[in-house]
């Protein structure tokens, strides 16, 4: 006879104990759709004190993002550091943008228009790669 737990998937062993969308308070879609994988996020000012006004609703993950983004970091890098899916990370970053704690810089948008990056960008990338 099969034990009742047989067939239970054991693949979840390394999954976080908290379901990702719990961290976002159940929200599954970002309120802003302008964040991309390589949008760079930077802290505007020092992270406010723990009990500062407006900070009460912040999750530990929000604070981690603030600590990470003292230097500009891409959304994908933040998601990787938090070990959270990109879409969850975008919701958290959106909260911090909304609260005025971080600023985002969108990447160069040319492919959407079917265009090519400017020659000066290409030259800069080429020169940078040659130094590798």
């Amino acid at each position: 006879m099969k034990h009742w737990t047989e067939g239970f998937d054991d693949d979840d062993a390394d999954e976080p104990l908290v379901r990702p969308y719990t961290i976002t308070g159940g929200r599954t879609t970002p309120e802003r759709d302008d964040l991309t994988l390589i949008t760079l996020v930077t802290v505007i000012s020092e992270a406010p004190a723990d009990n500062g006004p407006g900070m009460r609703r912040l999750q530990p993950e929000h604070r981690t993002i603030l600590a990470l983004c003292k230097q500009p970091l891409a959304v994908a890098e933040i998601a990787s550091a938090l070990n959270l899916p990109v879409s969850v990370t975008k919701i958290l970053i959106g909260d911090l943008i909304e609260a005025g704690h971080v600023r985002s810089r969108p990447p160069l948008a040319f492919a959407q228009a079917g265009g090519l990056p400017g020659m000066s960008i290409l030259e800069a990338v080429r020169d940078g790669l040659r130094k590798l």
Binding site: T28, T29, T36, L37, I38, T39, L40, V41, T42, V43, I44, S45, K70, Q71, P72, A74, A76, E77, A79, S80, P85, V86, S87, V88, R103, R105, P107, L108, A109, F110, A111, Q112, G114, L116, P117, M119, S120, I121, L122, E123, A124, V125, R126, D127, G128, L129, R130, L132
Partner: protein
Amino acid sequence: MGFASSEPGVRAPLAVKILVAGGFGVGKTTLVGAVSEVAPLRTEEYLTHASIGVDDLEGVSGKSTTTVALDFGRITINSELVLYLFGTPGQERFWFMWNDLVNGAMGAVVLVDTRRLEVSFASIDFFESRGIPFVVGVNCFHGVRDRTQEEIRRALDLDPQVPLVLCDARDRAAGRDVLLALIDHLMAAHARTAAHPVS
């Protein structure tokens, strides 16, 4: 160069990205790791109805959420410009669902393994259909060059304008040269556009 933003505080550089594609096991993450200044990072994404938008969900076996993972790296070009390299998920059907991955890419490197050229066909089809410029990197990591470049081109049905470069994805200099081939390719396309502007 005036790429950086003019806002006060720490100035974020401008980010650009290149995709590294090809079938399973052709060396995508190896190439990313060889040229990246950090060990390849891994991130994952839920692809849901919401992120798929109007795309067709047929064939995703009724699941409303799929998780895909990808590896990426970064190369700081200078204080105003940073290049991200994204190894694409092996199954190309996910790319269509993940617009954020493909949108805004300068171009792509399609890696091929001469023993299994067919695993990279779908990547080539994808970039051709999307009009995204790409170069083909032939990963010769076995040290075996059993086919001539002309044979590989023919087998891949490659447009004559698409550069084909031999490389070893484990080698930093070789990986860099594949990326440089892509940049040269983009510059050539730029020059053609400038010579014959679309009116």
